[in-house]
Symmetry: C2
Amino acid sequence: MAQSASETVIGLATRRKTARRFRRTGVDLEDVHYCIRAAVQAPSGANRQPWRFVLVDDEEAKARIRASCEEQERRFHEKAETNLKGWFESKGITWQKQFLTDAPVLLAVFSNQKMPYAIESTWLAVGYILLALEERSLSTLTYTPSYPENVRAAFGAPEEYRLETILPIGHSADKKPKEERRQFESLIYRNAWNLQR
Amino acid sequence: MAQSASETVIGLATRRKTARRFRRTGVDLEDVHYCIRAAVQAPSGANRQPWRFVLVDDEEAKARIRASCEEQERRFHEKAETNLKGWFESKGITWQKQFLTDAPVLLAVFSNQKMPYAIESTWLAVGYILLALEERSLSTLTYTPSYPENVRAAFGAPEEYRLETILPIGHSADKKPKEERRQFESLIYRNAWNLQR
Protein backbone atom coordinates (compact mmCIF):
# COMPACT_ATOMS: atom_id res chain seq x y z
CA MET A 1 0.00 0.00 0.00
CA ALA A 2 1.34 3.45 -0.92
CA GLN A 3 1.98 5.85 1.91
CA SER A 4 -0.42 8.73 2.44
CA ALA A 5 1.20 12.01 1.56
CA SER A 6 -0.80 13.98 4.15
CA GLU A 7 -1.31 16.93 1.85
CA THR A 8 -3.66 19.85 2.22
CA VAL A 9 -7.00 19.60 0.43
CA ILE A 10 -6.17 22.52 -1.80
CA GLY A 11 -2.82 20.95 -2.66
CA LEU A 12 -4.49 17.72 -3.71
CA ALA A 13 -7.26 19.55 -5.56
CA THR A 14 -4.90 21.84 -7.44
CA ARG A 15 -2.42 19.18 -8.41
CA ARG A 16 -4.81 16.51 -9.58
CA LYS A 17 -5.68 16.41 -13.24
CA THR A 18 -7.72 14.17 -15.44
CA ALA A 19 -5.84 11.26 -16.98
CA ARG A 20 -6.97 9.85 -20.30
CA ARG A 21 -4.05 7.52 -20.73
CA PHE A 22 -2.65 5.07 -18.23
CA ARG A 23 0.56 3.21 -17.70
CA ARG A 24 0.33 -0.54 -17.39
CA THR A 25 1.76 -0.43 -13.85
CA GLY A 26 -0.54 -2.22 -11.48
CA VAL A 27 -2.60 -0.66 -8.74
CA ASP A 28 -2.72 -1.90 -5.17
CA LEU A 29 -6.37 -2.61 -4.47
CA GLU A 30 -5.80 -1.49 -0.90
CA ASP A 31 -5.28 2.02 -2.25
CA VAL A 32 -8.64 1.90 -4.01
CA HIS A 33 -10.27 0.53 -0.86
CA TYR A 34 -8.77 3.45 1.02
CA CYS A 35 -10.54 5.87 -1.32
CA ILE A 36 -13.87 4.08 -0.98
CA ARG A 37 -13.49 4.03 2.80
CA ALA A 38 -13.13 7.80 2.66
CA ALA A 39 -16.10 8.14 0.29
CA VAL A 40 -18.55 6.26 2.46
CA GLN A 41 -17.94 8.77 5.24
CA ALA A 42 -19.61 11.44 3.10
CA PRO A 43 -23.00 12.77 4.14
CA SER A 44 -26.05 11.66 2.14
CA GLY A 45 -29.75 12.44 1.93
CA ALA A 46 -31.29 11.18 5.18
CA ASN A 47 -28.00 9.29 5.68
CA ARG A 48 -29.29 6.58 3.33
CA GLN A 49 -25.84 6.09 1.77
CA PRO A 50 -27.22 5.43 -1.72
CA TRP A 51 -23.84 4.51 -3.21
CA ARG A 52 -22.56 1.12 -4.29
CA PHE A 53 -19.16 0.38 -5.81
CA VAL A 54 -18.01 -2.25 -8.24
CA LEU A 55 -14.26 -2.59 -8.41
CA VAL A 56 -13.19 -4.26 -11.63
CA ASP A 57 -9.70 -5.63 -12.13
CA ASP A 58 -10.47 -8.71 -14.21
CA GLU A 59 -9.29 -8.23 -17.81
CA GLU A 60 -12.27 -10.00 -19.35
CA ALA A 61 -14.71 -8.00 -17.27
CA LYS A 62 -12.99 -4.75 -18.29
CA ALA A 63 -13.16 -5.74 -21.97
CA ARG A 64 -16.87 -6.54 -21.65
CA ILE A 65 -17.54 -3.21 -19.93
CA ARG A 66 -15.57 -1.34 -22.55
CA ALA A 67 -17.51 -3.03 -25.36
CA SER A 68 -20.80 -2.16 -23.70
CA CYS A 69 -19.78 1.48 -23.20
CA GLU A 70 -18.45 1.84 -26.73
CA GLU A 71 -21.65 0.51 -28.22
CA GLN A 72 -23.55 3.29 -26.46
CA GLU A 73 -20.92 5.92 -27.25
CA ARG A 74 -21.16 5.07 -30.95
CA ARG A 75 -24.91 5.69 -30.80
CA PHE A 76 -24.34 8.93 -28.92
CA HIS A 77 -21.69 10.21 -31.31
CA GLU A 78 -23.84 9.38 -34.33
CA LYS A 79 -26.79 11.31 -32.90
CA ALA A 80 -24.72 14.27 -31.65
CA GLU A 81 -25.52 17.71 -33.01
CA THR A 82 -23.03 19.51 -35.25
CA ASN A 83 -21.79 21.78 -32.45
CA LEU A 84 -21.09 18.91 -30.13
CA LYS A 85 -19.46 16.91 -32.92
CA GLY A 86 -17.11 19.83 -33.53
CA TRP A 87 -16.29 20.04 -29.85
CA PHE A 88 -15.54 16.31 -29.68
CA GLU A 89 -13.26 16.66 -32.69
CA SER A 90 -11.42 19.63 -31.21
CA LYS A 91 -10.76 17.58 -28.08
CA GLY A 92 -9.90 14.37 -29.88
CA ILE A 93 -12.80 12.58 -28.17
CA THR A 94 -14.28 9.66 -30.10
CA TRP A 95 -16.58 6.77 -29.22
CA GLN A 96 -13.50 4.74 -28.36
CA LYS A 97 -12.77 4.43 -24.67
CA GLN A 98 -9.41 2.78 -24.52
CA PHE A 99 -8.86 3.90 -20.94
CA LEU A 100 -11.48 1.34 -19.88
CA THR A 101 -9.09 -1.47 -20.71
CA ASP A 102 -5.77 0.38 -20.28
CA ALA A 103 -6.36 1.33 -16.67
CA PRO A 104 -5.53 -1.56 -14.33
CA VAL A 105 -8.68 -0.97 -12.28
CA LEU A 106 -12.13 0.41 -12.96
CA LEU A 107 -14.26 1.71 -10.14
CA ALA A 108 -17.93 1.89 -11.13
CA VAL A 109 -20.08 4.03 -8.87
CA PHE A 110 -23.82 3.42 -8.66
CA SER A 111 -26.58 5.30 -6.84
CA ASN A 112 -29.88 3.91 -5.64
CA GLN A 113 -32.49 6.06 -7.34
CA LYS A 114 -35.09 5.25 -4.70
CA MET A 115 -33.12 7.13 -2.09
CA PRO A 116 -33.41 10.89 -1.53
CA TYR A 117 -30.79 13.05 -3.21
CA ALA A 118 -29.14 9.93 -4.58
CA ILE A 119 -27.28 11.67 -7.41
CA GLU A 120 -26.18 14.63 -5.31
CA SER A 121 -24.94 12.47 -2.43
CA THR A 122 -23.13 10.05 -4.69
CA TRP A 123 -21.28 12.74 -6.61
CA LEU A 124 -20.31 14.43 -3.37
CA ALA A 125 -18.75 11.10 -2.39
CA VAL A 126 -17.01 10.96 -5.79
CA GLY A 127 -15.36 14.25 -4.83
CA TYR A 128 -13.94 12.50 -1.77
CA ILE A 129 -12.69 9.65 -3.97
CA LEU A 130 -10.83 11.97 -6.35
CA LEU A 131 -8.93 13.68 -3.55
CA ALA A 132 -8.14 10.36 -1.88
CA LEU A 133 -6.84 8.96 -5.18
CA GLU A 134 -4.59 11.97 -5.59
CA GLU A 135 -3.33 11.47 -2.07
CA ARG A 136 -2.38 7.92 -3.03
CA SER A 137 -0.71 9.20 -6.22
CA LEU A 138 -3.31 7.54 -8.43
CA SER A 139 -4.94 9.17 -11.43
CA THR A 140 -8.40 8.93 -12.87
CA LEU A 141 -10.96 10.39 -15.24
CA THR A 142 -14.57 10.94 -14.22
CA TYR A 143 -16.05 9.10 -17.17
CA THR A 144 -19.83 9.34 -17.45
CA PRO A 145 -21.07 6.73 -19.93
CA SER A 146 -23.68 7.75 -22.45
CA TYR A 147 -27.00 5.94 -21.88
CA PRO A 148 -25.78 4.48 -18.57
CA GLU A 149 -28.99 2.48 -18.24
CA ASN A 150 -27.73 0.33 -21.11
CA VAL A 151 -24.35 -0.24 -19.52
CA ARG A 152 -25.72 -1.31 -16.13
CA ALA A 153 -26.19 -4.89 -17.35
CA ALA A 154 -22.46 -5.27 -17.98
CA PHE A 155 -22.07 -5.05 -14.21
CA GLY A 156 -25.14 -7.11 -13.33
CA ALA A 157 -26.48 -4.22 -11.27
CA PRO A 158 -30.16 -4.14 -10.26
CA GLU A 159 -32.50 -1.77 -12.06
CA GLU A 160 -32.88 0.75 -9.24
CA TYR A 161 -29.18 1.47 -9.33
CA ARG A 162 -28.04 4.16 -11.72
CA LEU A 163 -24.49 3.96 -13.06
CA GLU A 164 -23.13 7.42 -12.26
CA THR A 165 -19.54 7.10 -13.36
CA ILE A 166 -16.79 4.65 -14.16
CA LEU A 167 -13.46 5.78 -12.78
CA PRO A 168 -10.51 4.19 -14.60
CA ILE A 169 -7.77 4.15 -11.97
CA GLY A 170 -4.06 3.88 -12.50
CA HIS A 171 -0.82 5.75 -13.01
CA SER A 172 -1.17 8.53 -15.53
CA ALA A 173 0.62 8.43 -18.87
CA ASP A 174 -1.08 11.67 -19.88
CA LYS A 175 1.17 14.60 -20.71
CA LYS A 176 -1.53 17.24 -21.24
CA PRO A 177 -1.49 20.02 -18.67
CA LYS A 178 -4.43 20.42 -16.31
CA GLU A 179 -7.27 22.24 -18.00
CA GLU A 180 -7.54 25.88 -17.11
CA ARG A 181 -9.95 27.17 -14.53
CA ARG A 182 -11.99 30.36 -14.62
CA GLN A 183 -10.83 33.22 -12.47
CA PHE A 184 -11.92 32.66 -8.90
CA GLU A 185 -13.34 36.18 -8.66
CA SER A 186 -15.76 35.52 -11.51
CA LEU A 187 -17.34 32.60 -9.68
CA ILE A 188 -18.12 34.11 -6.31
CA TYR A 189 -20.46 36.82 -5.08
CA ARG A 190 -20.95 38.29 -1.66
CA ASN A 191 -24.42 38.52 -0.09
CA ALA A 192 -26.22 38.62 -3.44
CA TRP A 193 -25.62 37.77 -7.07
CA ASN A 194 -23.56 40.45 -8.82
CA LEU A 195 -22.57 42.22 -5.63
CA GLN A 196 -18.98 42.79 -4.61
CA ARG A 197 -16.83 39.75 -4.02
CA MET B 1 -6.77 32.63 8.88
CA ALA B 2 -6.72 29.24 10.60
CA GLN B 3 -3.75 27.02 9.90
CA SER B 4 -4.21 24.04 7.63
CA ALA B 5 -3.96 20.83 9.57
CA SER B 6 -2.51 18.86 6.64
CA GLU B 7 -4.54 15.79 7.43
CA THR B 8 -5.14 12.72 5.33
CA VAL B 9 -8.34 12.65 3.28
CA ILE B 10 -9.68 9.70 5.22
CA GLY B 11 -8.91 11.47 8.48
CA LEU B 12 -10.88 14.53 7.40
CA ALA B 13 -13.70 12.43 5.95
CA THR B 14 -14.03 10.23 9.03
CA ARG B 15 -13.89 13.03 11.55
CA ARG B 16 -16.27 15.47 9.90
CA LYS B 17 -19.89 15.33 10.92
CA THR B 18 -22.94 17.35 10.10
CA ALA B 19 -23.58 20.31 12.39
CA ARG B 20 -27.14 21.49 12.94
CA ARG B 21 -26.27 24.01 15.62
CA PHE B 22 -23.58 26.65 15.52
CA ARG B 23 -21.71 28.77 18.00
CA ARG B 24 -21.81 32.50 17.47
CA THR B 25 -18.04 32.62 17.01
CA GLY B 26 -17.20 34.38 13.77
CA VAL B 27 -15.68 32.78 10.70
CA ASP B 28 -12.72 34.16 8.81
CA LEU B 29 -13.93 34.63 5.24
CA GLU B 30 -10.44 33.70 4.07
CA ASP B 31 -11.12 30.19 5.33
CA VAL B 32 -14.29 29.98 3.24
CA HIS B 33 -12.41 31.36 0.24
CA TYR B 34 -9.84 28.64 0.77
CA CYS B 35 -12.56 25.99 0.45
CA ILE B 36 -14.00 27.56 -2.69
CA ARG B 37 -10.52 27.79 -4.20
CA ALA B 38 -10.19 24.06 -3.67
CA ALA B 39 -13.68 23.41 -5.08
CA VAL B 40 -13.09 25.20 -8.35
CA GLN B 41 -10.20 22.86 -9.07
CA ALA B 42 -12.68 19.98 -9.37
CA PRO B 43 -13.31 18.47 -12.79
CA SER B 44 -16.59 19.27 -14.52
CA GLY B 45 -18.52 18.23 -17.61
CA ALA B 46 -16.49 19.49 -20.58
CA ASN B 47 -14.60 21.65 -18.03
CA ARG B 48 -17.48 24.15 -18.15
CA GLN B 49 -17.21 24.82 -14.39
CA PRO B 50 -20.97 25.22 -13.94
CA TRP B 51 -20.72 26.33 -10.31
CA ARG B 52 -21.28 29.76 -8.80
CA PHE B 53 -21.03 30.66 -5.14
CA VAL B 54 -22.79 33.26 -3.05
CA LEU B 55 -21.15 33.86 0.28
CA VAL B 56 -23.58 35.47 2.71
CA ASP B 57 -22.43 37.08 5.94
CA ASP B 58 -24.84 40.00 6.14
CA GLU B 59 -27.39 39.44 8.94
CA GLU B 60 -30.29 40.93 7.02
CA ALA B 61 -29.50 38.85 3.96
CA LYS B 62 -29.32 35.70 6.09
CA ALA B 63 -32.70 36.52 7.68
CA ARG B 64 -34.26 37.05 4.25
CA ILE B 65 -32.85 33.77 2.98
CA ARG B 66 -34.05 31.93 6.06
CA ALA B 67 -37.56 33.35 5.66
CA SER B 68 -37.62 32.32 2.01
CA CYS B 69 -36.46 28.80 2.81
CA GLU B 70 -38.87 28.38 5.71
CA GLU B 71 -41.81 29.42 3.57
CA GLN B 72 -40.97 26.59 1.17
CA GLU B 73 -40.22 24.13 3.97
CA ARG B 74 -43.63 24.78 5.53
CA ARG B 75 -45.26 23.92 2.20
CA PHE B 76 -43.11 20.81 1.91
CA HIS B 77 -43.83 19.61 5.45
CA GLU B 78 -47.58 20.17 5.00
CA LYS B 79 -47.60 18.10 1.82
CA ALA B 80 -45.30 15.35 3.14
CA GLU B 81 -46.63 11.80 3.25
CA THR B 82 -47.26 10.10 6.60
CA ASN B 83 -44.05 8.04 6.41
CA LEU B 84 -41.90 11.05 5.77
CA LYS B 85 -43.69 13.05 8.47
CA GLY B 86 -42.90 10.28 10.93
CA TRP B 87 -39.28 10.28 9.87
CA PHE B 88 -39.02 14.06 10.29
CA GLU B 89 -40.54 13.74 13.75
CA SER B 90 -38.14 10.96 14.76
CA LYS B 91 -35.23 13.17 13.72
CA GLY B 92 -36.62 16.38 15.22
CA ILE B 93 -36.65 18.01 11.79
CA THR B 94 -39.26 20.75 11.30
CA TRP B 95 -39.80 23.50 8.75
CA GLN B 96 -37.70 25.78 10.93
CA LYS B 97 -34.14 26.29 9.76
CA GLN B 98 -32.52 28.18 12.56
CA PHE B 99 -29.05 27.26 11.35
CA LEU B 100 -29.56 29.66 8.44
CA THR B 101 -29.32 32.61 10.82
CA ASP B 102 -27.22 31.02 13.58
CA ALA B 103 -24.27 30.18 11.35
CA PRO B 104 -22.04 33.21 10.82
CA VAL B 105 -21.72 32.49 7.11
CA LEU B 106 -23.88 30.83 4.49
CA LEU B 107 -22.37 29.50 1.31
CA ALA B 108 -24.97 29.02 -1.40
CA VAL B 109 -23.88 26.83 -4.29
CA PHE B 110 -25.54 27.18 -7.68
CA SER B 111 -25.15 25.20 -10.90
CA ASN B 112 -25.79 26.39 -14.41
CA GLN B 113 -28.39 24.00 -15.79
CA LYS B 114 -27.38 24.73 -19.37
CA MET B 115 -24.02 23.10 -18.84
CA PRO B 116 -23.39 19.35 -19.20
CA TYR B 117 -23.44 17.32 -16.01
CA ALA B 118 -24.07 20.49 -14.03
CA ILE B 119 -25.53 18.77 -10.97
CA GLU B 120 -22.96 15.99 -10.90
CA SER B 121 -20.00 18.35 -11.31
CA THR B 122 -21.26 20.79 -8.73
CA TRP B 123 -21.86 18.16 -6.07
CA LEU B 124 -18.44 16.68 -6.71
CA ALA B 125 -17.07 20.16 -5.97
CA VAL B 126 -19.22 20.28 -2.82
CA GLY B 127 -17.36 17.17 -1.70
CA TYR B 128 -14.12 19.13 -2.01
CA ILE B 129 -15.64 21.97 0.02
CA LEU B 130 -16.65 19.70 2.90
CA LEU B 131 -13.17 18.24 3.27
CA ALA B 132 -11.57 21.68 3.01
CA LEU B 133 -13.93 23.03 5.69
CA GLU B 134 -12.99 20.18 7.98
CA GLU B 135 -9.33 20.92 7.36
CA ARG B 136 -9.97 24.47 8.50
CA SER B 137 -11.87 23.17 11.56
CA LEU B 138 -15.17 24.55 10.29
CA SER B 139 -18.47 22.69 10.40
CA THR B 140 -21.41 22.62 8.05
CA LEU B 141 -24.60 20.88 7.03
CA THR B 142 -25.40 20.10 3.41
CA TYR B 143 -28.82 21.72 3.47
CA THR B 144 -30.88 21.18 0.32
CA PRO B 145 -33.82 23.61 0.33
CA SER B 146 -37.22 22.30 -0.69
CA TYR B 147 -38.44 23.89 -3.95
CA PRO B 148 -35.07 25.56 -4.54
CA GLU B 149 -36.47 27.35 -7.60
CA ASN B 150 -38.53 29.48 -5.21
CA VAL B 151 -35.54 30.34 -3.04
CA ARG B 152 -33.32 31.43 -5.92
CA ALA B 153 -34.89 34.92 -5.90
CA ALA B 154 -33.66 35.54 -2.34
CA PHE B 155 -30.16 35.51 -3.83
CA GLY B 156 -31.01 37.40 -7.02
CA ALA B 157 -29.66 34.50 -9.07
CA PRO B 158 -30.54 34.19 -12.78
CA GLU B 159 -33.07 31.58 -13.84
CA GLU B 160 -30.60 29.17 -15.44
CA TYR B 161 -28.84 28.72 -12.14
CA ARG B 162 -30.19 26.01 -9.85
CA LEU B 163 -29.67 26.40 -6.13
CA GLU B 164 -28.07 23.09 -5.17
CA THR B 165 -27.33 23.62 -1.51
CA ILE B 166 -26.89 26.22 1.17
CA LEU B 167 -23.99 25.39 3.47
CA PRO B 168 -24.26 27.11 6.85
CA ILE B 169 -20.66 27.47 7.97
CA GLY B 170 -19.33 27.99 11.45
CA HIS B 171 -18.09 26.34 14.60
CA SER B 172 -20.26 23.43 15.63
CA ALA B 173 -22.34 23.51 18.82
CA ASP B 174 -23.80 20.12 17.96
CA LYS B 175 -23.26 17.33 20.44
CA LYS B 176 -24.82 14.49 18.46
CA PRO B 177 -22.34 11.83 17.36
CA LYS B 178 -21.68 11.31 13.68
CA GLU B 179 -24.39 9.22 12.08
CA GLU B 180 -23.48 5.61 11.57
CA ARG B 181 -22.30 4.26 8.27
CA ARG B 182 -23.13 0.94 6.67
CA GLN B 183 -20.47 -1.73 6.76
CA PHE B 184 -17.93 -1.09 4.05
CA GLU B 185 -18.13 -4.71 2.86
CA SER B 186 -21.84 -4.35 2.10
CA LEU B 187 -21.21 -1.46 -0.31
CA ILE B 188 -18.53 -2.88 -2.56
CA TYR B 189 -18.40 -5.71 -5.09
CA ARG B 190 -15.54 -7.07 -7.12
CA ASN B 191 -15.82 -7.49 -10.89
CA ALA B 192 -19.61 -7.86 -10.83
CA TRP B 193 -22.55 -7.12 -8.57
CA ASN B 194 -22.89 -9.71 -5.81
CA LEU B 195 -19.50 -11.26 -6.42
CA GLN B 196 -16.83 -11.55 -3.75
CA ARG B 197 -15.60 -8.29 -2.29
